[in-house]
């Protein structure tokens, strides 16, 4: 079971990082990161170069950008594998849909979370964040990105096979990710240490529940 999980994750990473030319377009992990940096880049153009204003609001912008960036990979996470018959083959081999979803969540997080946290360093510089603020953002992203990845896989499983599934995916993800945004951005307010704890709790809950829901969705989608 663990060996199978490893094999599945290995394939997810190979596809995400475009090793050997992934079926999902080479190096699919880059697009969300570029999008994330683009949002951070255009924000100062919109509000002006006031360092104080940027410093106060920049953390929130990083969080909004992270949320929006997590929408981009949704459409390629499950649909392609259903179309290709990969999921059927896993199931015939006795792998549960939940295990498949878990492998996809871990693989997706590895190709999304750490690159996003690296890009957040650049964003923090662009948005005039102090070192302390950057530290809180990074801790927050470390807590929240597993939940964002799990939500992405769950919504990808729910919308696989639907027309306009990609657009619907974005609409579904945003409300579900609101707790992460509130606690994540809220933790940046000086003197509110509980934000990170609540963020970690919300993230843990989503990370545990989402693969189970995603597995059920994949199973239901086979009918």
């Amino acid at each position: 079971m663990i060996a199978a999980l490893g094999t599945l994750i290995r394939r997810e990473l190979m596809l995400a990082f475009g090793l050997g030319g992934g079926a999902r377009g080479s190096a699919g992990f880059v697009m969300p990161i570029i999008f994330f940096l683009a949002v951070a880049t255009i924000y100062p153009f919109a509000v002006g170069p006031d360092a104080q204003l940027l410093g106060r609001t920049g953390g929130g912008v990083i969080w909004v950008a992270a949320l929006l960036a997590s929408i981009l990979p949704i459409d390629r996470l499950v649909q392609a594998d259903v179309d290709q018959g990969m999921i059927d083959q896993y199931v015939v081999r006795g792998l549960s849909e939940e295990l498949i979803a878990l492998a996809k969540t871990i693989g997706h997080w590895l190709s999304f979370g750490p690159p996003l946290m690296l890009a957040a360093v650049i964003s923090a510089g662009l948005l005039g964040q102090s070192a302390e603020q950057l530290m809180i953002v990074e801790i927050g992203l470390a807590c929240a990105t597993p939940a964002l990845a799990a939500l992405g896989v769950m919504i990808a499983a729910l919308t696989a096979g639907l027309r306009h599934g990609a657009a619907l995916g974005g609409l579904l993800l945003l409300p579900l990710a609101v707790p992460l945004l509130i606690f994540g951005a809220g933790s940046l307010t000086p003197g509110s240490q509980n934000g990170l704890l609540l963020l970690a709790a919300a993230s843990l809950l989503l990370t545990v529940i989402c693969p189970i829901a995603a597995g059920a969705a994949i199973r239901a989608g086979r009918e």
Binding site: T7, M14, Q84, V91, R93
Partner: protein, 220 residues
């Protein structure tokens, strides 16, 4: 065939543990409010083969999916001893990966050695394309790659849905050889096809006999 000899020497991916068996009784399948078939009963033991025949749209693929556990049976029971390998119209090989590497994803899951891939590819005459990405393969070559995946699966029960589709005469002969070797090793082949298959001594199951008449249909 010299190639054949090389395969039987170095490549023994057909091996699996224990004798395979596949039986079902009174199997029925309801899809979209329509009873596709009912009362399908057969019993296959090691080395036997079953050719499910019938025109398109009768429910041959659904029967295979029910047997594979991918669709729930409306009624009846499936008893299988041994693992199953499924070949349907989906190749399940990553289009961007070189053929050999795409197959290795499955050998890792099925517990066969990476080295077996070479032998399996030779068995379907694709050894020269091992490094070519799957997306550049033709329809017939994809189908043969799929057969390589099946022969690597170490599964006792082969469920083949239209295995001869898109294959030329030589490839159909190779398919016959693969199935024969699998059965000689104690495996079971269940193939659904509207066309004749190179399956010597196989039982046939004309699925049309199990399709209920419209008035006999049960309410959904």
């Amino acid at each position: 065939m010299a190639q054949d000899a090389a395969i039987s020497k170095g490549f023994d991916a057909n091996s699996f543990d224990g004798g395979a068996a596949l039986a079902c009784t009174g199997l029925a399948c309801l899809r979209g409010g329509r009873m596709l078939f009912r009362g399908v009963t057969f019993n296959l033991s090691a080395g036997e083969a079953l050719h499910v025949t019938g025109p398109n749209g009768l429910g041959k693929s659904s029967l295979i999916r029910v047997l594979a556990g991918l669709l729930p049976a409306y009624a009846g029971e499936v008893t299988a001893t041994g693992r199953m390998a499924l070949a349907d119209e989906k190749v399940a090989l990553d289009a961007g990966q070189p053929l050999a590497r795409a197959l290795m994803h499955w050998t890792r899951l099925d517990g066969s050695a990476d080295a077996d891939v070479t032998g399996a590819l030779a068995g379907v005459d694709l050894a020269h394309l091992a490094d070519v990405p799957v997306r550049f393969l033709s329809t017939g070559q994809r189908k043969r790659a799929l057969l390589a995946r099946i022969s690597l699966s170490r599964a006792g029960i082969w469920l083949l849905d239209e295995p001869a589709n898109g294959l030329d005469t030589a490839s159909i002969a190779r398919l016959g050889m693969l199935m024969e070797r699998h059965r000689a090793g104690g495996g079971i082949v269940l193939a659904a096809s509207h066309q004749p298959l190179p399956l010597d001594g196989a039982q046939t199951l004309p699925l049309a006999d199990f399709v209920p008449a419209p008035e006999a249909e049960e309410p959904a």
